[in-house]
Amino acid sequence: MIDFLVNWLANAPVTAVPYALAALGLIIAERSGVLNLTAEGLMLVGALAGAGTCLMLGGYPAVALVAAMVAASAVSLLFAVLVVVLRINQVIAGLSVVFFCQGFTGLVGTLAKWQNKQLTGLAPLKIWPLSEIPGIGRIFFQQDPIVYLTILIFFAVNFLLFRTMLGLRIRSVGENPGAADAAGVSVTLHRIFAIVAGSSLIGLAGGYISVVSVKLWVTGMTGGRGWIAVALVVFARWAPWPALAGALLFGCIEALIPQIAAAGIRVPQYLMLMTPYLATIAVMIWVGTKDSGITQEPGALGQPHVREERR
């Protein structure tokens, strides 16, 4: 029983990191007032770029993760131009980008023959001597470096959003772009920055899945994690720390599935695989049942800003 628990919880951070990073990236973009549905697609781009870099260089997972971030940011520029400059419907734009990325990564991954090739991955970082504590050591102090980096990133983004001038401007653009514009804050630039910066984290989340966690590239490998991240943002009410908690919850749920199979408990396999999606819907129902006069939703979420348009 203890073994089962330790095995399960030791794997939970690895499954939680993609949710956490993707949700955080989405929070940055949505705080600037852009309804961002692109996570599923950008995670695929990150996953493919990470796996591809790893295969071409023959290793260097750190470089691969940086490549994943850069690639996702580059693709997100397309989304930024569509919604911030051309002001097209943010749902339509987000969906288009997701399906574009699904098609594009499938095409590139197959043509470059990156499918199903084993990657080297990232060695765990043992924080000695804490890593030698039985049980707890394996859960908390023998994870890969990105797990620890994720926590640092959360501190950094929290600081950026709530303690710096840039963060204040991003949030003001998301709450009331008209007022921000009148105060001399460029709505366009801050929204584009928020989208691209957030997308780099989404790309890292995708790269982490292919390079560190699964160590393979398979077409469509993110399997809806991006949509779960979108739901997590609503659940977390656009705040970083609750998003991390939610990500941990989903990490635990996802990590439980292989553990149950490994423990020899006979549960219908495909019904088990439904649990993350059903859990997401359950969480959204829970959000809906709470009496929430204040949703914390950014005031201008989903609204394009046209200075010349009178409202």
Binding site: S96, L107, Y277
Partner: protein, 368 residues
């Protein structure tokens, strides 16, 4: 004292704008634009999108000339049958998406609804319900019911718990897919082949050709187009739909049954997708397969978007997307281009056409 007066004295005239470098771009909001100009903008952006797609394919190893000859091959008489078979489910999902979008409901659960349509239809076949003569009718009705029920689940979540339907419908696609796998790798697996497929439908459970290389599935799609056209343009519920889309509060105040009409429209939207699932399993596949609903979510969105939710236009756009699908299958077989390429091209087209809306709504001006 003296100093202050001096500083207040000569107020320098504002620098003329022209001397401030290049000037700036501004956007004017257009009140309206003649229809032909709109058509030019949409048409040229469509061409731009297709050009980008052709360019990407050229990089992927399909020269434009090869592409053109493949496209011409698809449109020959013998291949047209395949296109028409493919058009039927596409038109139906297009109808489903456009009905839901008309009322402002983002139905992105088309694949899930198709899967449950297929499962319900297959259940009628597998459990041998009803006499052979009415079997197909029963399967179709079951499929519509399956798709409708699956979307009503989301409607319930939205109305009761304010769950966002975009996320709920998308996530339920995965749930439906795993439920299909659960059946196909378990109780419903074909015991003869041990492939994850159901046993083939019997001949009277399949949609057959009605001559001239036209499959009866297309008749269902055309009937759907006519019914939806009547419903949207002529019937009372169509009027309600326009009213609700324009102003739900006003509609409610003057006595439109907003809730009932919304639920019905969305249920019919789900039923259309369910029927598409039935048409796919009963004509193309002839059995329940793992992937019969793959790639239809965005196709539905695209068809609804390009046809501006008009049922009659849906039929035309659905046919064109069927050509794209069949071309994609040809490229997959002969050039090893993965079928996801079709989704990519669809996305590029939507982005391009949506961008043209910007030019239709705004005028860009250079102010010096």
């Amino acid at each position: 004292m003296h100093d202050i007066l001096r500083r207040a004295e000569p107020l320098t005239p504002p620098v003329p704008a022209a001397s401030r470098g290049f000037g700036r771009l501004t956007l004017d909001v257009r009140q309206n634009l003649p229809a032909w100009k709109q058509a030019v903008f949409v048409g040229s952006s469509l061409i731009l999108g297709l050009a980008i797609s052709v360019a990407i394919l050229a990089v992927a190893g399909i020269p434009p000339l090869t592409l053109a000859s493949e496209l011409a091959g698809v449109l020959t008489a013998e291949n047209l049958r395949g296109v028409l078979i493919q058009a039927a489910p596409l038109i139906l999902v297009g109808l489903g998406a456009s009905l839901a979008f008309r009322i402002g409901f983002w139905n992105l659960g088309i694949e899930g609804q198709m899967i449950f349509g297929g499962i319900f239809a297959a259940a009628i076949s597998i459990y041998d319900i009803g006499p052979p003569a009415t079997r197909l009718l029963l399967m179709g009705m079951a499929a519509a019911l399956g798709g409708g029920l699956w979307v009503l689940l989301v409607v319930f979540l939205k109305l009761r718990f304010r769950v966002n339907e975009i996320i709920a419908t998308l996530l339920l696609n995965y749930v439906a897919m795993y439920f299909l796998f659960h059946l196909l790798y378990g109780a419903w697996q074909d015991s003869k082949t041990a492939f994850p497929q159901s046993t083939p439908f019997r001949p009277f459970e399949r949609l057959t050709d009605i001559g001239y290389g036209v499959n009866s599935g297309l008749l269902i799609a055309i009937a759907g187009v006519l019914a939806a056209g009547w419903m949207i343009h002529l019937s009372r519920i169509g009027f309600y739909t326009r009213f609700i889309a324009a102003n739900p509060r006003m509609a409610k105040v003057v006595g439109v049954p907003v809730r009932t009409a919304t639920i019905w429209i969305i249920a019919i939207s789900g039923a259309c997708s369910g029927l598409a699932g039935f048409v796919n399993v009963a004509s193309q596949e002839g059995r329940l397969t793992q992937s019969f609903a793959n790639g239809y979510v965005f196709s539905g969105v695209l068809i609804a978007f390009l046809s501006r939710n008009d049922p009659i236009v849906v039929a035309i756009v659905g046919f064109l997307i069927a050509v794209l699908f069949i071309t994609g299958q040809t490229l997959q077989v002969f050039y090893q281009i993965p079928f996801t390429m079709v989704q990519m091209i669809e996305a590029i087209i939507v982005m391009a056409v949506a961008s043209s809306e910007f030019l239709i709504r705004h005028r860009i001006r250079w102010i010096r």
